[in-house]
Symmetry: C2
């Protein structure tokens, strides 16, 4: 089969043996595979994949049709449309997906959109609900809200009855993010909209200290992106006075069991909203698999609304 392959920092559409599903795994004919920040880090040699995953095959999510199932797999059957998380090698003609990390694709949604759904919605749902304990009526700030996870978080928080403020650096994207259900502002204007019960921070870096000062009592900050840097100065007295929580989270480093819990929550709570069109996986651009280099370039350029997705040509 053909797969996106990292070769000396460049991407090629090269030949690799097709994967074979082991117990509880699905062999998926991939139709679409979203890009994530970790793919770009992996291409740059700065995000080694877990043991057993080839370092030169990127891709953390995909959508397609089940072709075959491994021993014991009972949740999906050949012919089912699925989308799911993979530890790597998702940007290829074929991929294996553990059945507990796979979600059904509602018949109403195209596979090209589904290819950009799993990482964004699993990350956003876990951050908002499991990590931050979002409740109806909470006031939520999503920073860096125009990207894949950000647009998912805005839609999920709005769907849950929260009041959503979204900060977006690129002015042209703000009206588009606002239409997802948020008050969309420039990063410098965030403090005008405090206090926040929950902050989902996709930027990190020095801006974090400003956000801590905008929290309500018992406020929760979940940092899940570090595009703005990893070093932050924290005034602990602001945490103490508010009984506030600062947490960091990633999906990729979790165990299979932990990821499966996240995926199964998304299956029960989010896939029905996706089927009904109440939340969408926004796709800024699709590229055929062989044009992975151009797709990664588009991702790196930023200023995009939602995901960049590779699709079968």
């Amino acid at each position: 089969m053909r797969a996106v392959i990292i070769s000396e920092g460049r991407l090629t559409w090269g030949e690799r043996p097709a994967p074979v599903p082991k117990a509880y795994e699905l062999l998926v004919r991939v139709e679409a595979a979203g890009l994530n920040g970790a793919d770009l880090l992996q291409r740059a040699g700065r995000y080694p994949p877990p043991a057993g995953v080839p370092a030169d095959q990127p891709g953390l999510e995909c959508a397609g049709t089940v072709e075959a199932v491994g021993d014991g797999a009972a949740t999906f059957r050949p012919g089912d449309r699925v989308m799911g998380l993979v530890p790597g090698a998702g940007q290829a003609e074929w991929a294996v997906v553990h059945e507990r990390l796979a979600l059904p694709v509602p018949p109403e949604r195209p596979l090209s959109e589904a290819g950009g759904f799993p990482e964004a919605y699993c990350t956003a749902h876990d951050a908002l609900f499991t990590q931050a304990g979002l409740s109806v009526g909470d006031r939520v700030l999503v920073t860096g809200a125009a990207g894949g996870v950000g647009t998912a978080a805005v839609q999920l928080a709005a769907a849950a009855g929260a009041e959503v403020v979204a900060s977006v650096r690129h002015e042209a994207l703000r009206p588009k993010v606002a239409r997802l259900g948020a008050t969309c502002v420039a990063p410098e204007e965030v403090a005008d909209h405090r206090p926040f019960d929950v902050v989902v921070d996709l930027v990190g870096g020095p801006g974090l200290s400003r956000h801590l000062g905008c929290l309500a009592p018992w406020g929760r900050v979940v940092v899940i992106g570090l595009g703005g840097g990893s070093q932050a100065q924290v005034d602990l007295s602001e945490l103490l006075a508010r009984r506030a929580v600062l947490r960091g989270s990633t999906l990729r480093s979790r165990t299979l069991e932990e990821k499966a819990l996240v995926v199964q929550r998304v299956r029960h709570h989010v896939v029905p909203l996706f089927a009904a069109g109440k939340v969408r996986a926004l796709v800024e651009a699709t590229y055929p698999f062989p044009e992975a280099e151009a797709a990664y370039g588009r991702f790196a350029a930023g200023a995009k609304l939602g995901k960049v997705v590779l699709v079968r040509a």
Copy 2:
């Protein structure tokens, strides 16, 4: 009645009207009242008490005998021995304690010890169990472990089946803290004993960044003291990689309802251990009420094991 009074930064044993219990309040003849760091800040004019509490009467906890009860109070009766949290003015011959913030003093324990129990055990229990979700088998670090909250946290964590590492700056106190059920080390040696599932940090300041590097996956840090300073540099990538949580907590700024929840948890889970002698309120020194100035001086001098408690002469 007589009460400890702050007058131009000094403490006197002066005259004040005796308090009158309002609905759901207990009038307590105070036998003992522990000192807390906030009392010293209040004396220095740096910790204004909540609305309705006199700024010149310190004292956040006391123990004694119920003399009378306000309308509706149904939990305690005159003659009962109680200990409890008060928003201020606890260091006086008489104090009013809300019945939901009062705990029974087990007959086995002297009131002089009980006067140092409520703040330390409510703070430690809330930090370990409610904030950090301590479980049996967790590995816990308590920093600044020799003080009132620290010795309470060490004993509670050990009683809950955790493995406890305690850091104590003063070498002479380390064997005494170790006898409470901890491996007791110097602050510089903490990293040798990682990874920690829970850190209860009573020091704050620059040392915090070192502790974040010592966390296990899903590790939780609760900062409840800032003797080492309030500014901390945080490497967010360490939080993300571990899915770690950093939280700050204080009791004093909480609402009555929130404090009542903490006190009632302590009533059910800790007072029985206190009655059985499985946890103790360690008292470094007692001083008669009129010697409050000397007691505050002893507290400020540090290098103490447990509490400093004022007692009826």
